[in-house]
């Protein structure tokens, strides 16, 4: 039963609203749709000279800085306030994503594998995708990525070897803008796998697809109180949905697996509307960076030894398995 292990709030009618004057309420109601449409319009009409990945990286960093400011101005929970230690730790994982993981990805990531296969077989029959309207191409890229991510994520919560890679991410005890990057690098690699690399899309479509991640998926991990519009929260993932997924309540964690489009969860019956403040595992034990790095391997070693029948030294159970 949901809420049996830790307090959670179920149902939109029970979720707190933005407090303050009319301007504050207006801003924190319409900020999310405004940012989505503004950035879609920007990438749709930007001249070719500026419609390139380096601009997207700049906009991404600027937008994250703005959201960090919003966390400061209108936090969802005081207990999720960003501290120097949290910021530094989060940024370390963000740094891994921009550097060593990108390097590894360029050799063995899904795009590299797709490139290898496409180069070998010359499968250019899928090139008709590039003749679709730009926004359709963009939506297809984002949807395909999120659909694969949904099943990968759901798999992580249901199959022990995959869970070991994902468990460290569930030891975070608060949501902040960079928390999406916190986790074991093996998981960060797995969650980045997609099938988009097999299809040809116009470069501008990729930039437009990135907008869905930047202006929707990013709110999974954010400490900002929004009055999220009804249609938005029906279609898209929100920090409310994702806080339930990260809650200390076991049943609640088995919901809301999609990254961007919560309607995928609605399609497969795994969506739960609501929110939670108390997050994490083992009553809120925060995992150190060192343990985040080694956890899947040490736990896998313990599990293997157990399976092979050798007794393991008595230790407290360090993680609730997914099954």
């Amino acid at each position: 039963m949901i809420g049996a292990d830790a307090p959670v709030t179920i149902g939109w009618e029970n979720v707190s609203r933005v407090e303050g004057g009319p301007i504050r309420r207006f801003v924190f109601t319409w900020f999310q749709p405004f940012a989505l449409f503004a950035l879609l319009a920007f990438w749709y009409y930007a001249p070719n000279s500026i419609a390139k990945p380096s601009t997207a990286i700049g906009i991404g960093i600027g937008f994250k800085a703005l959201l960090l400011g919003l966390e400061w101005v209108n936090p969802r929970f005081a207990s999720w306030r960003l501290t120097w230690k949290e910021f530094t730790t989060d940024l370390f994982f963000v740094g891994l994503g921009y550097t060593i993981l990108r390097l590894v990805d360029s050799y063995i990531g899904s795009d590299a594998v797709a490139k290898l296969i496409l180069d070998h077989f010359h499968w250019e029959k899928l090139a008709w995708f590039t003749t679709l309207p730009l926004l359709v191409q963009a939506f297809l890229i984002a949807f395909m990525f999120d659909f694969v991510q949904y099943w990968m994520h759901r798999g992580m919560h249901n199959w022990y070897p995959l869970w070991l890679t994902h468990a460290p991410h569930h030891y975070i005890t608060q949501l902040n803008i960079n928390k999406g990057a916190v986790g074991n690098p093996v998981e960060l690699f797995l969650i980045g796998l997609g099938v988009g690399g097999f299809f040809d899309f116009l470069p501008r479509a990729f930039l437009l697809a990135g907008v869905f991640g930047l202006t929707i998926g990013i709110y999974q991990h954010i400490n900002v109180r929004f009055n999220t519009p009804r249609l938005w929260r029906f279609l898209f993932n929100t920090t409310e949905h994702h806080s339930l997924h990260h809650s200390q309540d076991y049943e609640a964690t088995r919901s809301n697996y999609s990254g961007t489009f919560i309607f995928i969860d609605r399609m497969f019956g795994t969506c739960v509307d609501g929110e939670a403040e108390l997050l994490g595992m083992e009553g809120g034990r925060r995992m150190s960076i060192r343990e985040q790095m080694t956890f899947p391997f040490t736990e896998a070693w313990k599990a293997m030894r157990e399976k092979l029948g050798r007794p393991v030294a008595a230790e407290p159970v360090s993680a609730v398995p997914a099954e």
């Binding site: 749709y44 009409y45 930007a46 001249p47 070719n48 419609a51 390139k52 990945p53 207990s79 501290t83 120097w84 230690k85 949290e86 910021f87 530094t88 730790t89 940024l91 370390f92 740094g95 921009y98 550097t99 060593i100 990108r102 390097l103 360029s106 795009d111 797709a114 490139k115 090139a127 590039t130 003749t131 679709l132 309207p133 730009l134 975070i172 005890t173 608060q174 690399g197 899309f201 116009l202 470069p203 501008r204 479509a205 990729f206 930039l207 994490g280 009553g283 809120g284 034990r285 925060r286 995992m287 150190s288 960076i289 343990e291």
Partner: protein, 201 residues
């Protein structure tokens, strides 16, 4: 090697006057609730309090410190609270730039090994026709700019983009700055925390 000359990197030291009329025991009793946190163990003597933390929660106001000693001493103008706190996070932050510089070097080495392959790929690419797909009528009607053939490395797609060492250099710089900020900020914050606890009614 005497670590006393460099251990300020990961240690925060300080002293605060104990408010007049408070005994050493009273002062430590006021500070003690700060150590009633998840993952924190502490031992209190007559004039000393020692603590250590394992995986403290993010919400712990002293989460940045792993261990420390708080001692009540007799100063010239009354009692003093002298503290010495150890932070592995500060040390980690100072060393993080070295890790990112190593990543930069690794990226350069991996790129250097790829050059001949890239030249071969470019030659192969040149054989391909330059034709671009026709623009969809919907996009034409809405006025989106017509696509151009992307220059090498400028494609919007992720495929074929080569990693650059620049992000590693940027993160090395960020962590160097973060260390300075953290060393000053956490020193001030813990001082304020102790002062408030001592002054609390």
């Amino acid at each position: 090697m005497n670590l006393r000359f460099i251990d300020w990197i990961w240690h925060v030291r300080g002293a605060l006057p104990v408010p007049e009329g408070q005994s050493g025991g009273e002062a430590l009793a006021r500070l003690e609730p700060l150590f009633h946190q998840m993952g924190t163990s502490h031992m209190r003597g007559d004039d000393v309090l020692e603590f250590s933390k394992t995986d403290p929660a993010s919400q712990d106001p002293m989460a940045v410190f792993d261990a420390g000693t708080l001692r009540i001493e007799q100063g010239q103008q009354g009692l003093l609270l002298r503290y010495r706190l150890k932070s592995k996070t500060l040390l980690f932050c100072l060393l993080a730039p070295l890790l990112f510089l190593a990543f930069a070097q690794l990226t350069i080495w991996s790129g250097a090994g790829e050059k001949p392959k890239d030249a071969a790929a470019q030659a192969k690419k040149a054989e391909k026709p330059d034709a671009l797909p026709p623009m969809n009528p919907v996009d034409k009607f809405l006025g989106a700019p017509a696509p151009e053939k992307p220059k090498d490395g400028e494609g919007g797609g992720r495929r074929g983009r080569k990693p650059s060492p620049t992000p590693s250099y940027v993160f090395a710089g960020i962590f160097a700055v973060l260390y300075v900020v953290g060393r000053i900020l956490e020193d001030r914050l813990v001082r304020r925390l102790f002062r408030k606890a001592l002054a609390a009614e």
